[in-house]
């Protein structure tokens, strides 16, 4: 009993619990359909690549996971969210495909510039976007949501302008590689894993994580303690911009085109949600990167599950909302207190009897 209590009090318990809950729905569904109960977890090799629903979740969840890294840091340091990430993803698509295809071309099968120039160009622009957001928030003290609202609306529009309002296709195999497979593993999973590993290492082996948290908890006190609060906030926004670029890189390569109207659409909401699902407070301060990452894959697992259940993409948000409400309520502090009181009462009643 006490070991169970210890388990439930661990910080990562709830995010992991939510993830398991979603998986359980899959298992129940499979049993109801007469499939193998654990079909969700079955991974096979088909056509020389890994195949299975779990792989799908990991693969399609890559963009959200990458975004969640940047978003977690931004939320922690500035107690606000960066709502421009989806737009900046699509800006990456516009910049990268415009460089690779040459301005004005819609459908190319050879590069106008080397692949690396396109990718680095795109990432540079998104990093500058992060810098721009960061300057507004850190040095001009503009509320994060208002500051990032600028690029939320302008990012996609600039991307459209760069592509002449059209979908630019780059039909070159090496460009598709990032969205396809490396060996037997989908490349997006590898990209996400590398990003997560780097972020985890930086947070573990440097004091950056502590700096960010202390700035988030109390900006003034941290400054008095000797941190350059503004610089740290700026840095988190730059990292967030870079993460948006990396997520955009994966999304763009998947469809080898700059579908600027649709890439990263509403993705900022998924990113913010994954931070919340990970048990992080959107009020800033303490954060838990592992929680956010688990949150990101939970969101993708919900989406994939809904598709597998045959829920149409127009109705999926409703069911997604219901699941999210459940998870968020379970994690809410007042709810936990209420549950504790309830169990205490029950125990009392038992004793009295």
């Amino acid at each position: 009993m006490s070991s169970l209590k210890k388990l439930t009090q661990k910080r990562l318990f709830l995010p992991i619990f939510s993830m398991i809950l979603v998986m359980l729905i899959n298992v129940i569904y499979d049993i109801a359909c007469g499939n193998m109960p654990l079909q969700f977890f079955v991974i096979t090799i088909k056509n020389g690549v890994l195949y299975g629903r779990l792989i799908d979740v990991l693969n399609r969840g890559s963009e959200i996971a990458i975004l969640a890294i940047g978003m977690t840091l931004v939320v922690s340091s500035s107690a606000g969210t960066d709502i421009s990430v989806g737009s900046v993803m699509s800006l990456y698509a516009g910049v990268c495909c415009m460089i690779l295809a040459g301005y004005g071309n819609v459908n190319v099968s050879s590069y106008a510039h080397p692949l690396l120039v396109g990718i680095l160009g795109g990432l540079a622009v998104t990093t500058i976007c992060g810098l721009f957001n960061g300057l507004l928030v850190a040095y001009l003290n503009i509320q994060p949501m208002v500051a990032t609202l600028i690029l939320w609306s302008a990012g996609r529009a600039i991307g459209l302008l760069l592509c002449n309002s059209q979908i630019v296709y780059v039909r070159v195999p090496s460009f598709q590689k990032i969205g396809a497979y490396t060996g037997i593993i989908p490349t997006p999973i590898i990209v996400a894993a590398i990003c997560i590993a780097i972020a985890a290492c930086v947070l573990k082996f440097t004091a950056l994580g502590t700096y960010i948290q202390s700035v988030g908890i109390n900006k003034k006190a941290s400054r008095i303690a000797g941190f350059n609060s503004a610089k740290i906030i700026l840095l988190t926004y730059i990292i967030c911009g870079l993460c948006s670029g990396l997520a955009g890189m994966v999304a763009t390569s998947r469809i080898y085109s700059a579908d600027t109207n649709n890439i990263g659409l509403n993705m900022e909401m998924d990113a913010i949600l994954s931070v919340a699902l990970g048990g992080n407070s959107l009020g800033g301060g303490k954060f838990n990167l592992a929680g956010s990452i688990i949150g990101a894959y939970t969101i993708q697992a919900i989406t994939t599950t809904l598709y597998a259940l045959g829920v149409s993409s127009a109705q999926a948000p409703v069911f997604k909302a219901i699941v999210v409400i459940l998870i968020v309520v379970i994690q809410a502090e007042p709810f936990k207190v209420y549950m504790k009181k309830l169990t205490a009462k029950r125990a009392q009643a038992k004793e009295a009897a």
Binding site: K46, N47, G48, V49, Y51, G52, R53, D56, R60, V106, N107, I128, L131, F132, L135, L136, Y139, L140, I150, L151, A154, A157, I158, L160, L161, N164, S165, Q166, I167, Y169, A180, Y181, A251, R254, I255, S257, D259, N261, N262, I263, T304, Y307, A308, G310, S312, S313, A314
Partner: protein, 345 residues
């Protein structure tokens, strides 16, 4: 010093964003400029019919082909003066454009609506001003149908039906008309007229064939990314898909990618029959590469019928409320290379 550098970067950022806005601003400036020119010119030449065209945007080759078709027909040589407005995918811009046309007292307003609803007010204004409105490409939902005189549409229901007839013929040719056929459909954005029409049209034909089994209809939002995701889900769920109906070419590209990634194949020599709609150039190229069986056109060349309709209205003739443009289809038995040479898009 440090502050100064910072401010500089910030200014550069602001300039960057503003330049984005500005270029779209100058676009609109251009339109109003041309329209003021128009007014003076029409005063000179009273014989020209002034037509205000509000176009959705320039998002695809298809849309550009449609725009060009209209521009080629409504020329001064043909007796028209066209004021063209590109709404950049925004309904507000389209409403603004129609209001401007009313203020400029054009003779006809042509509207290619981005969405079906929300046009009542502005079209009422046009009617009050006595300007006939012609709706093209997609239909609008209005409480009062008299707010527009005629609509020139692509018949998406017929496209869906034709796809059904083609599939029936094809299966008969293959000697498979008796066996069970498992079909999956990738639907477009729910509520879009093309999605509703194509789904309904195909379902009508499918109902006549008892051996056709529609396993599932899954949404794909008309985009390549969603099309791929939905197809991946379907491939995992069902092992024996015979036919894939994808309601536009973008989703088809995604579906073909998903099928190939799963080690399956589609097209005339593959294990699945792939039917698509729209027939853009890239899709015909994919058809030549043997990835698509048949593609049903959604004809963008609406200019000629539009010009003819306006002439008939000028002569005081009655015009049907709904007119459809001619549409065709393509399959692998045709000589695609020659067909593609003559195509505008």
């Amino acid at each position: 010093m440090k502050r100064g550098v910072l401010l500089g970067i910030l200014m550069a950022g602001v300039a960057f964003v503003c330049s984005g806005c500005q270029s779209s601003g100058s676009w609109q400036g251009e339109t109003s400029y041309t329209s003021s020119v128009t007014q003076t010119e029409t005063e000179i030449d009273e014989n020209l019919i002034v037509v205000g065209v509000s176009q959705v945007g320039a998002e695809s080759d298809w849309r550009i082909a449609q725009t060009n078709s209209i521009k080629e027909e409504l020329t001064t040589e043909n007796g028209f003066y066209m004021i063209f407005d590109n709404a950049q995918q925004k309904q507000e811009n389209q409403i603004k454009a129609v209001r401007n046309f009313i203020l400029q007292e054009v003779d006809y307003i042509v509207l290619d609506p981005i969405v079906v609803s929300g046009w009542d007010n502005v079209l009422q204004n046009a009617k009050d001003a006595g300007i006939p409105v012609i709706v093209i490409d997609r239909n609008v939902e209005l409480e009062d149908d008299s707010l527009y005189v005629t609509s020139i549409l692509t018949d998406s229901e017929a496209e869906g039906r034709n796809a059904g007839y083609w599939l029936a013929d094809y299966l008969e040719e293959q000697g498979r008309d008796e066996e069970d056929i498992n079909i999956v459909m990738l639907l477009g954005t729910e509520g879009a007229s093309a999605q509703i029409g194509r789904t309904k049209g195909f379902a009508e034909v499918a109902a006549d064939h008892e051996n056709w089994k529609i396993l599932e209809r899954l949404g794909g939002d008309f985009t390549q990314a969603k099309g791929r995701e939905s197809m991946e889900t379907l491939l995992e769920k069902y092992d024996d898909i015979d036919v894939v109906i994808s309601e536009n070419d973008n989703m088809t590209f995604g579906a073909v990618d998903a099928i190939q990634a799963a080690g399956r194949s589609c097209g005339p020599d593959g294990d699945m029959i792939m039917i698509s709609f729209d027939a853009v150039r890239a899709a015909l190229e994919a058809m030549m590469a043997g990835e698509i069986n048949a593609d049903f056109e959604c004809n963008p060349l609406q200019g000629p019928l539009l010009a003819e309709t306006i002439r008939r209205l000028e002569n005081g003739e009655e015009v049907e409320k709904i007119q459809y443009v001619d549409e065709t289809y393509f399959d692998t038995t045709m000589d695609l290379e020659t067909l593609m040479k003559d195509r505008a898009y």
